[in-house]
């Protein structure tokens, strides 16, 4: 089976305050379609950088990223925008919703970037918000939502354009433990019930272990450990 995502010998070096940082030093791994994969590591281990590269927000210094059959490392900026729009959906620790727009509008904005006709957007957005269990809060602005609700809206937005893979960057980092497990459970439901491929980076190894098929441990920009926790159904 061809993996939905594979990275090969990925390096990322950047300058921060005049100091050279080797964020990734030869990362290679694969994710199969329908899998829930977690990458755990301490802050500064390079896990967010890895996710940004796969999400097409940043470009690798060397190495290769393939999502389905497309090589990200050779893409131009316009193609990367298309990749972010159609192929991946990202959620963040700080939700990154647009505060002036309601939950529904945050989702329809993604649909608008996806090129959907205006009259189709609303019903589609309501559908997705229902999938994440938030249909009753769709007219509230992010400031009026709890952290858990805001992250659900972010997940709905990430799924709006039916991406091949959902990229979650510390999705529970800003949540208390009970809300955090709710969000992780939602990701699990989406993965198990609706076949959404999930790649999550987190420092919370316990909750990652509870839901993931496989788990990688990242330290100083290298994968130091791989665990198969449970088989794919």
């Amino acid at each position: 089976m061809i993996p939905i995502l594979q990275t090969h010998n990925l390096y990322k070096t950047y300058q921060k305050d005049g100091v050279k940082v080797n964020a990734l030093q030869g990362v290679s791994f694969q994710v199969q379609e329908g899998e829930f994969v977690s990458i755990v590591g301490r802050s500064g281990s390079g896990k967010s950088t890895l996710l940004n590269l796969i999400g097409g927000l940043d470009t690798a210094s060397s190495g290769e990223i393939r999502v389905r059959d497309k090589n990200l490392t050779r893409m131009k900026r316009q193609e990367l925008a298309l990749h972010r729009r159609k192929t991946v959906g990202m959620i963040f620790q700080s939700f990154n919703l647009i505060p002036s727009r309601t939950a529904l509008e945050n989702v329809t904005l993604a649909l608008a970037f996806g090129g959907m006709r205006r009259r189709d957007r609303r019903s589609k957005a309501v559908d997705i918000l229902t999938r994440v269990g938030l249909s009753d809060r769709s007219d509230h602005k992010p400031g009026e939502l709890s952290g858990g609700e805001a992250q659900r809206v972010a997940i709905a937005r990430a799924l709006a354009n039916e991406p091949s893979i959902l990229l979650a960057d510390e999705p529970t980092g800003n949540l208390d433990s009970s809300t955090a497990s709710e969000v992780v459970e939602l990701l699990q439901t989406l993965n198990r019930g609706q076949g959404v491929t999930v790649l999550m980076v987190t420092h919370d190894e316990a909750s990652a272990s509870a839901v993931s098929h496989r788990l990688f441990r990242l330290l100083d920009g290298k994968i130091i450990d791989e665990k198969s926790l449970r088989g794919m159904p």
Binding site: L57, R77, R84, Q93, F113, A158
Partner: protein, 475 residues
């Protein structure tokens, strides 16, 4: 993302920061308002002048002078060459030339230009003005066929005088149009100003006083006049003519040269009035060569189409020909410069407004960094984000342009009312000083949008370059 979505996003952003948008737009509004009112003053001036020329049928008029005087050369101070050219053997403008010109096809009427300064007296009041002598045939043409009251004379040696209302006013008579006497201020009435209907002005006798060199006095004692404090050897000559017609009030831009005669009398009647033989230094200079000739001839054409052929034929005879059309071409060049200067002043206001747009947009990008990062993360391309900001800038330009046109229109209306209040106080006719042609409306709109887009260029590029990783970093 489709264009209309980008537009709506831009609008939503403007709407979110209403006060800032309004203030920025106000800057553009004032800039365009200044531009429009400035330029419309120039175009208004041009329109009024051209209109006045047209109404007075001046485009079919030519002035023939003995020798073409190179105005440019005279103005540049090269007096020697001008004087030299005057001293050359130049053909004389005499009666035989007059009849030759009369034969040229397309010429309707031609006669020697006679125009000289006079003092007019009506009752106890007097004033100075210019007298112009015309043949009775000119009564067929504008503006002489459109007198306000009375009739143009039908005989070249008639005892008649056509007076302008402006001169009448200087003679302390205000022409009463309609039943009610005209309003006269207290100040004017103390000076003896009266309002009279045309009926009681027509037929009244006008005293025309001209200055004459007293040749007898000069010959009696030629050296007396070289002494200091000597009185000039002048006497006055008096001619009485009845007022037979009153011209319509002249337009505000009429005046100067051919139009400025305060009084018009028949050409043969004028011949009988003793006067100094020149009305200007030029005619004095040109006459010195040969006192037999006329200083200039007036030629009127059947139609404007004949102007070039008639002009070149007279020029081939060795005379200088001046047409108002030539002058208008000169003036048009002048008006373009005038408009450009006025436009520049307006444009400076708009450039200041453009800086306001840049400031507003850069501010909003700084505030919306994270939002721009989010838009990039969910698939916004650089072009799309650039366009959103372009639409914002363009909308400010469009709105500012429309409001600026309205502001400019209001300002010119008010200025026109104020100006006409003062013009009316001076006895002038109502005039539209400003004119906003279609090209100015479209041009101002296009300029407003163009400048705004230009101002949006840098902010838009900056927005498109926002690094999403940086913008979305959790902190």
């Amino acid at each position: 993302m489709r264009m209309d979505d980008q537009f709506i996003l831009g609008m939503a952003n403007l709407w979110r920061t209403k006060l800032r948008t309004i203030l920025t737009t106000l800057g553009v509004t004032i800039g365009i308002g200044a531009l429009v009112s400035m330029v419309s003053f120039g175009t208004g001036m041009q329109k009024n002048v051209t209109q006045q020329f047209k109404e007075n049928d001046l485009f079919t008029s030519l002035q023939v002078t003995p020798k073409k005087i190179d105005i440019d050369e005279a103005m540049s101070g090269n007096v020697e060459s001008v004087v030299e050219s005057l001293q050359e053997d130049t053909p004389v403008l005499d009666d035989s030339v007059l009849s030759q010109i009369r034969q040229i096809p397309g010429v309707a009427i031609t006669f020697p230009e006679v125009q000289f300064p006079v003092k007019l007296k009506l009752g106890d009041h007097d004033t100075r003005t210019t007298l112009r002598a015309l043949p009775a045939d000119m009564g067929r043409y504008k503006p002489h066929n459109q007198l306000g009251h009375g009739r143009f004379f039908t005989d070249d040696s008639a005892s008649a005088a056509i007076i302008s209302p402006r001169v009448l006013k200087k003679l302390n008579v205000i022409l009463q149009e309609g039943k009610e006497p005209a309003d006269i201020s207290l100040e004017d009435s103390l000076k003896g100003m009266r309002s009279l209907p045309a009926d009681s002005i027509l037929g009244r006798e006008l005293e025309i006083i001209t200055a004459v060199v007293d040749m007898a006095a000069v010959t009696r004692n030629p050296f007396r006049f070289l002494q200091p404090m000597a009185t000039p050897p002048m006497t006055e000559s008096l001619t009485r003519l009845p007022i037979t017609g009153i011209r319509r009030p002249p337009g505000a831009f009429e005046g100067g040269g051919w139009l400025d005669a305060g009084i018009v009398i028949p050409i043969k009647t004028a011949d009988a009035i003793p006067r100094l033989g020149f009305s200007s230094v030029w005619s004095l200079l040109s006459q010195s060569a040969d006192s037999q000739g006329y200083s200039s001839l007036y030629v009127r054409l059947e139609s404007i189409a004949d102007i070039d052929t008639v002009k070149s034929r007279i020029e081939n005879m060795g005379f200088g020909v001046f047409s108002i059309l030539d002058q208008l071409k000169e003036m048009r060049r002048g008006f373009i410069i005038f408009d450009a200067v006025l436009g520049t002043v307006g444009a400076i206001a708009l450039i200041v407004a453009a800086l306001g747009i840049i400031n507003t947009m850069v501010m909003s990008i700084l505030e919306r960094r994270r939002e721009i990062g989010v838009m990039k993360a969910i698939g916004g391309s650089e072009t799309e984000i650039k366009n959103i900001f372009f639409f914002e800038a363009g909308s400010i330009g469009l709105l500012g342009g429309v409001l600026g046109l309205i502001l400019g229109w209001i300002v010119t209306r008010i200025a026109n009312i104020v100006a006409n209040y003062y013009i009316a106080r001076e006895g002038g006719p109502h005039v539209d000083l400003f004119y906003i042609p279609l090209w100015l409306i479209l041009g101002a709109m296009a300029f407003s949008i163009f400048v705004s887009l230009l101002a949006g260029l840098y902010p838009a590029v900056r927005a498109a370059r926002v690094d999403p990783v940086e913008a979305l970093r959790h902190d």
